[in-house]
């Protein structure tokens, strides 16, 4: 008898280069976050008395929440409006939304001065605070998303099918709650800036900021679904639901048209049209946002050829996202002018020109990388894309 003494590889790391890149980015973010927890936010960021909110809020909170709006759009269309043909897009959208909100929550744990007290929002309520509303909505909505997504995980385990079935049966109240919560906090991110009428440039500050935010969130949600379907069809080598995406692309010019009407209508009513050309950098930023995020996509998606070609769909979606993300950055950072520098202690933490530092940005990138990795893993091991035969 011969003994086989070769060591069998039981566990072997066999990652693709992309996974290594993502893991490295996550590692860097983790180290930077540990530095922040040890030495304070000032040690790794350029935030100051004059700029208490910077890149983290603009990117992680404002952008993170808005790009997660596809979840409620699809859940609402499929369950409330009964458009069952969108079913194949539902699960990936809900997954993107869940991960998006998780990323927002993780990023806030780095940004908050007292991260261990984030749950205080659940018990100490100040009813006039917009931030409280956002906090509560996001926390509740994460739970709702977990319930909406749970069947996907449960279906993998035959013994738990019963629970999945039960959730399917009673999903409606959760979907309605989810849409209400999304409407509230998507618009409330706009309300968050209502308290800065003297700081935010008049091209952006308007009492209808919450409505503007909600309408733009719908356009971003549609664009995100197109983007994420296109990318995953490429990465996972699966078919693309072009026929469905075409319908979403058809809705985009309408939503963006409403957005443009509201935007310019409000400026006209408030008498702020003069700022369109007289505010220097602010005017340029405003036009960049409108031309990239609104005008170009309206033209782009009005052409039928662009709505049927996978490449053109992807390009159009990216254009919408770029413009609308620029809008979020404008509103929460570029167009916000804090009080006169004279007001700040001349010696300490008083820089008036905020520019994000590399470690600051690396935290956001690391969290984003974790989101992409999580999406990939979940889509690989759970039936995210193959739920046609499980349709409710």
């Amino acid at each position: 008898m011969k003994l086989n003494l070769t060591i069998q590889p039981r566990f072997r790391l066999n990652f693709s280069p992309l996974v290594w890149v993502l893991l490295t980015l996550m590692g860097i973010a983790f180290i930077v976050a540990m530095m922040r927890y040890t030495f304070g936010i000032g040690a790794i960021s350029d935030l100051s008395y004059s700029y208490p909110w910077g890149f983290w809020i603009s990117f992680d909170l404002f952008t993170g929440v808005v790009i997660s709006s596809g979840g409620f759009l699809m859940a609402g269309s499929v369950y409330i409006l009964g458009i069952k043909e969108f079913q194949p897009l539902l699960r990936p959208s809900v997954l993107t939304a869940s991960l998006g909100y998780l990323m927002v929550a993780i990023a806030l744990l780095v940004d908050l001065g007292q991260p261990l007290r984030i749950w205080y929002m659940m018990i100490h309520w100040n009813h006039t605070s917009v931030l409280l509303e956002i906090g509560i909505c996001v926390m509740t909505y994460l739970t709702v998303l977990a319930i909406e997504f749970a069947p996907v995980v449960l279906e993998r385990f035959p013994k738990l099918h019963q629970i999945a079935h039960l959730i399917h049966k009673y999903i409606m109240p959760f979907v309605i709650l989810g849409v209400v919560l999304s409407t509230l906090h998507q618009s409330s991110l706009g309300s968050l800036l209502l308290i800065q009428p003297t700081k935010l440039h008049p091209l952006w500050w308007t009492p209808i900021l919450p409505i503007m935010f909600f309408v733009s969130a719908i356009s971003v949600g549609l664009a995100m679904i197109i983007l994420e379907s296109s990318l995953s069809s490429r990465y996972f080598q699966r078919g693309l639901e072009t026929r469905l995406l075409e319908k979403l692309a058809k809705a985009l010019p309408i939503v963006l048209g409403i957005y443009a009407l509201l935007k310019f209508g409000e400026l006209a009513v408030a008498g702020d049209l003069g700022y369109l050309f007289t505010s220097g950098t602010m005017s340029i930023l405003f036009w960049a946002e409108i031309l990239i995020g609104v005008v170009t996509p309206i033209v782009w998606f009005s052409i039928k050829k662009n709505r049927t070609s996978p490449n053109a769909l992807l390009t159009g979606a990216i254009i919408v996202l770029l413009g609308m993300i620029l809008n979020r950055f404008n509103v929460s950072w570029f167009a916000v002018k804090h009080p006169d520098p004279l007001f700040y202690m001349p010696t300490f933490m008083s820089n008036v020109d905020y520019f994000p530092t590399l470690p600051e940005v690396s935290v956001s990138i690391g969290i984003f990388a974790a989101g992409i990795l999580a999406f990939g893993l979940l889509a690989k091991y759970f039936p995210v894309f193959e739920d046609e035969h499980h349709a409710a």
Binding site: G40, G113, R117, T128, S191, I195, Q196, T198, P339, Y344
Partner: protein, 259 residues
């Protein structure tokens, strides 16, 4: 000292000599480092051309607004406005979100950017020296001011005093008491010989900046309930319609089969 109904400060920019004794007093009284005092003095420099030169100094701390924006913004209610004036901050509730710093039109609250999670990074701002004013003493900065540029007293009395002083020396002052109406009124009042904007004070309306956001917040719960009801109605309607369509299709199928 007479009883004070509404604690307030009056700052007279013409009297300030930029000695910064108030900063030292604040540091000593509150046991905080000199680079983190809750009051600070900003030299505006010399304005005008010779021989018409003017020097300006602004002494600056929390305005103790009548409708504080920090208090309106704070999600966990760490700020309170006392009926008799002071706006105070409670570090035991603070989660460190820094929304108050964004909300404050004066940029008052400041944050411990140099503290990790073990020390705890908190907001700091003027407390109105409650340990002194409720024991019949003046706030530390006022007590120490050698030229009476900073004064302390009842808000109504100080406003009257400020107007009297302006009336007595119309050539010396701008005819305006900053903080009487700005941002819905503040408990830190300022009179000056140079324009308030040059002292770095923002140009604010008489309504507090939190007005619109508080109105929106009031509408939130009714809106949420209404929107939820509408969605439920739509969902029920669509469900019913789909069911009927299915039934019709089934009946048609049956009829087809019978034929």
């Amino acid at each position: 000292m007479t009883e004070i109904k509404h604690h307030a400060y009056l700052f007279d920019a013409t009297r300030c000599i930029d000695c910064r004794a108030c900063m030292v007093a604040c540091s000593v009284e509150n046991n905080i480092a000199m680079d983190k005092t809750r009051i600070w003095v900003a030299g505006v420099g010399i304005k005008g051309t010779y021989p018409d030169l003017q020097r300006g100094t602004m002494v600056y701390h929390c305005m103790h607004c009548e409708h504080p924006d920090c208090m309106s913004a704070c999600p966990v209610g760490a700020y309170t406005k006392a009926d008799d004036g002071p706006v105070t901050y409670n570090p035991d509730l603070c989660i460190g979100c820094r929304y108050c710093m964004n909300a404050c039109p004066f940029g008052v609250p400041h944050f411990d950017y140099d503290k990790g999670i073990i020390d705890g990074a908190f907001i700091d701002k003027c407390t109105f020296c409650p340990q002194r004013i409720y024991n019949g003493q003046e706030p530390a900065c006022v007590q120490t001011c050698p030229t009476d540029a900073l004064e302390y007293g009842d808000r109504d009395e100080l406003i009257a005093k400020a107007h009297e002083r302006i009336a007595a020396h119309p050539d010396r002052y701008i005819d305006h008491v900053y903080g009487e109406f700005e941002n819905g009124g503040t408990s830190y009042l300022i009179i000056s010989h140079i324009p308030f904007s040059e002292l770095g004070l923002p140009n604010l309306p008489e309504t507090p900046v939190n007005e619109v956001s508080e109105k929106v917040m009031e509408m939130t719960i009714p809106f949420a309930l209404g929107w939820g009801a509408v969605l439920s109605g739509v969902a029920a309607g669509v469900g019913l319609y789909n069911k009927k369509q299915e039934e019709k299709a089934a009946v048609a199928e049956k009829a087809e089969a019978v034929k």
